[in-house]
C-alpha cells in the first residue's frame, strides 16, 4: 500500500499520537536483563539491541489467562453474567516478522469451526507494527518455515532500519495506513530503497514440505525417545512459543460468584492428556515430544494450511536442557 520513511527521532512523537488516539502500546522493554513485551508510556522505554523477547507478542491476543465466563449462583439458579474480558485497542510495536506471522496461526486455530470471540476481537483491535531483523542468532530459522527477516506477513506496518537516522515504513494494511495517517507529518515518501541489504542473513536449513511428508511414517520411530531422553517435561517451550495455543479451562470462585478462565497449557506436561481413570494416551515424555513436533509440522499444515512453527527459535533458547528444535528437525529429516 505504500512505502514511507520515518526518522528515528520521530518515533517518540508517533507513540504520543498513538496514545492520544486512545490506544495502549505494547513494546519490548527490558526488566532485570530480560526483554519482554510490556505496556509503555513513551518511546524511550522501548528496548533495543536484542534478537528476541523471551515471551512472544502472542500475549496481546492470547493472554496467559483470561476470563471466558462469569457466573453467580442464587439458590438453585445460576445467572450467567456479561464477562469482563473486552479487547483494549492496542498497538504492538517492535514485533519481529516471525511473531507477526504467528498471529495467522493463532487466528486459524481460533477462527475455524467454532469462532472464538475473545481471540478474534483481540486480533481485530490490535495493530501490529513489525520490526525487521537486522541481527539473528544460531537459533533463528524463519526462512526454513516460510518466513523471512523482513517478511511483511502479519504486520500492519513494517519498519526496517535503513540507516542511522531512518526506518523504512512499509504500509501493509488499512490498520497500518491509519497509523501513518494519524501523523502524516512524521513520514516522508521513500525513494528507491534496497531493503534486503539491511536485513539479517538467515539461511534456509531444511525443507518444510519434505518434513511434513516424512513425519507420518515416523510415528513409531525410536528417534522420539532418543531425542527426548533429556527433556524434563516442563512447558517453557510451549509458553514462549508464539504459535502454541493449547489451553486449559479453570473455574475460580469467590463465594457464590465465579469466573471461568482459559489459561495456557502445554502438551509437554504429563497431566495434559491424563484421563480420570489414570490411563494416559501420552504417558511418557517421548510421546509428548512427538506430539509437539507432529502437531506443528504434520497435523497443523494439513488442518490449517500452515505450519505451527515460525522459526523464532524461542523454544531452543528457553529450554533448560538444550532441546534444540532446529537440530532435532534436521535429525528427523535424516532418519531412515
Amino acid at each position: 500500500m505504500g512505502k514511507k520513511t520515518i526518522n528515528v527521532d520521530s518515533l517518540g512523537e508517533l507513540f504520543h499520537k498513538i496514545k492520544s488516539g486512545g490506544k495502549r502500546i505494547l513494546a519490548p522493554v527490558e526488566k532485570d536483563g530480560v526483554i519482554l513485551f510490556g505496556e509503555v508510556a513513551s518511546y524511550p522505554e522501548v528496548a533495543t539491541g536484542y534478537i528476541q523477547t523471551v515471551f512472544s507478542a502472542k500475549e496481546a491476543v492470547l493472554p496467559r489467562f483470561e476470563e471466558i465466563l462469569r457466573f453467580s449462583s442464587e439458590g438453585r439458579d445460576v445467572v450467567i453474567e456479561e464477562e469482563s474480558n473486552k479487547p483494549v485497542p492496542t498497538v504492538v510495536f517492535g514485533v519481529r516478522p516471525c511473531d507477526a506471522k504467528s498471529l495467522s496461526v493463532i487466528k486459524a486455530v481460533f477462527e475455524r469451526d467454532y469462532p472464538d470471540i475473545f481471540v478474534q476481537s483481540k486480533i481485530d483491535s490490535t495493530t501490529v507494527i513489525g520490526l525487521s531483523c537486522v541481527n539473528s542468532d544460531e537459533y533463528c530459522f524463519c526462512t526454513s518455515v516460510g518466513g523471512a527477516p523482513g517478511d511483511t506477513a502479519g504486520s500492519d506496518l513494517l519498519l526496517t532500519r535503513i540507516n542511522d537516522a531512518n526506518y523504512l515504513a512499509e504500509i501493509i494494511t488499512e490498520k497500518g495506513e491509519s497509523i501513518v495517517s494519524s501523523a502524516p507529518e512524521l513520514f516522508s515518501e521513500a525513494g528507491n530503497v534496497d531493503k534486503d541489504r539491511h536485513l539479517a542473513q538467515v539461511n534456509r536449513q531444511f525443507d518444510l514440505d519434505e518434513l511434513e511428508k516424512r513425519l507420518p511414517a515416523l510415528f513409531e520411530s525410536p528417534l522420539w525417545a532418543g531425542q527426548s531422553l533429556r527433556c524434563i517435561g516442563c512447558g517453557a517451550c510451549s509458553f514462549v512459543c508464539p504459535s502454541c495455543t493449547c489451553f486449559d479451562i479453570q473455574d475460580e470462585t469467590d463465594g457464590a460468584r465465579g469466573i471461568r478462565l482459559r489459561c495456557w497449557d502445554s502438551c509437554g506436561f504429563a497431566q495434559f492428556t491424563l484421563h480420570t481413570s489414570g490411563h494416559n494416551p501420552r504417558g511418557v515424555q517421548s510421546k509428548r515430544w512427538r506430539q509437539r513436533i507432529m502437531h506443528k509440522f504434520s497435523y497443523q499444515p494439513g488442518e490449517l494450511g500452515t505450519a505451527g512453527c515460525v522459526g523464532c527459535g524461542r523454544c531452543s533458547r528457553a529450554c533448560p536442557v538444550d532441546m534444540n528444535i532446529l537440530q532435532h528437525i534436521k535429525d528427523i529429516l535424516e532418519a531412515r
Binding site: 516442563c234 502445554s266 538444550d322
Partner: protein, 262 residues
C-alpha cells in the same frame, strides 16, 4: 581429569556394571547438555568444564531413563548431595546407581558404593556462598512492604511453565500438589495469587531437602530469583536447627527454639 572420567565411563559400560552413563556433552551454541552414553566408544563425547552444572540427578527418577537399565551419573557435589537425599527418601537405593564423582577441584572420585559417596559429601560443609548470603540478607533488611512488592514484581512474570519444578531432581512426585484439584490447593492460572501460592508451596516442599544446586533458577526462562526462597530456608534451618540432619523437617529436637508461640 577429563581422560580419567571418560575412562571410568568406558570401564563401567564395557564391564556391564552400568548400561548408561549420564554425563555432559557439547550442546548447541556455547551450551552443554546432558548426554546418555550407551556404548563405551561414545564415552569420548563426555566433557567436563565450568559450564557443566546441570543437576543430572533429575534423570535418575525419570521413567524412560530408568528403563534403560542401571545408570552411572557424573556428579559434582550438589548432585551427590541430591543422590544422598534421594536415598534418604527411598527414591534411589544402594546398587541402583553408580556415581562418577567430581570433587570441588575437579578431580574424579571413585566410590565403591553410594554409602561411601554419602560419607564423602557429608564431610563437605553445606552452606551458601558469600554472594548468596548477601542476596538473602539484602531482602531481609527491607521492610515487609518492600519485600511484598519485590516478590509481587518478580513473580508477576511467572507463566507457570514449571521449568523450576521439572528441572529439580527432588520434585519427583508423579502428581504435584498444584495438580491436585480436590480441593484445588493452588490456583492454576498464573495470576498474582496463583503464582504466589505456587512459589510458597514449592519452597516449602523443598524445605530441608533442597541442595541449592541452582537448577530451578537456571531453568527459569525469566530468570526469576526463586532460589532465594529455598536459600532463605537453608539459612534458617542452619541457624535454628543447626543443620546436619538429612532432612531437617523430618526431624525435631524437643528444645527447638522459637519466639512466637504463645
Amino acid at each position: 581429569m577429563l581422560a580419567k572420567m571418560r575412562q571410568k565411563a568406558k570401564d563401567l559400560l564395557s564391564s556391564g556394571v552400568v548400561s548408561t552413563v549420564i554425563g555432559y556433552g557439547e550442546g548447541s551454541g556455547n551450551r552443554v547438555r546432558a548426554l546418555f552414553i550407551r556404548k563405551p566408544d561414545d564415552a569420548d563425547k563426555l566433557i567436563l568444564d565450568e559450564r557443566c552444572v546441570q543437576n543430572l540427578a533429575v534423570y535418575l527418577t525419570k521413567r524412560e531413563v530408568r528403563a534403560l537399565g542401571r545408570p552411572a551419573v557424573v556428579a559434582r557435589v550438589p548432585v551427590m548431595r541430591t543422590i544422598q537425599q534421594l536415598m534418604f527418601e527411598k527414591q534411589v537405593a544402594e546398587g541402583e546407581v553408580a556415581v562418577i564423582g567430581i570433587s570441588p577441584d575437579s578431580q574424579v572420585l571413585d566410590f565403591p558404593d553410594l554409602k561411601s559417596m554419602a560419607e564423602y559429601v557429608s564431610a563437605i560443609p553445606f552452606e551458601l556462598s558469600a554472594d548468596e548470603k548477601a542476596a538473602v540478607e539484602k531482602l531481609e533488611k527491607m521492610t515487609a512492604g518492600e519485600r511484598w512488592n519485590f516478590w509481587l514484581d518478580v513473580l508477576s512474570g511467572c507463566s507457570k511453565c514449571y521449568a523450576c519444578r521439572q528441572s529439580c531432581p527432588l520434585c519427583y512426585c508423579e502428581r504435584c500438589t498444584v495438580e491436585c484439584n480436590q480441593p484445588q490447593w493452588v490456583s492454576v492460572p498464573s495470576h498474582g495469587l496463583g503464582n504466589l501460592e505456587w512459589h510458597i508451596m514449592r519452597a516449602m516442599h523443598l524445605a530441608g531437602r533442597c541442595v541449592n544446586c541452582g537448577d530451578c533458577f537456571r531453568a527459569c526462562p525469566l530468570e526469576i530469583p526463586l532460589n532465594l526462597l529455598t536459600q532463605k530456608i537453608i539459612t534458617d534451618i542452619a541457624d535454628k536447627f543447626g543443620g546436619a540432619d538429612e532432612y531437617a523437617l523430618n526431624a525435631f529436637k524437643p528444645d527447638d527454639k522459637e519466639d512466637f508461640i504463645r
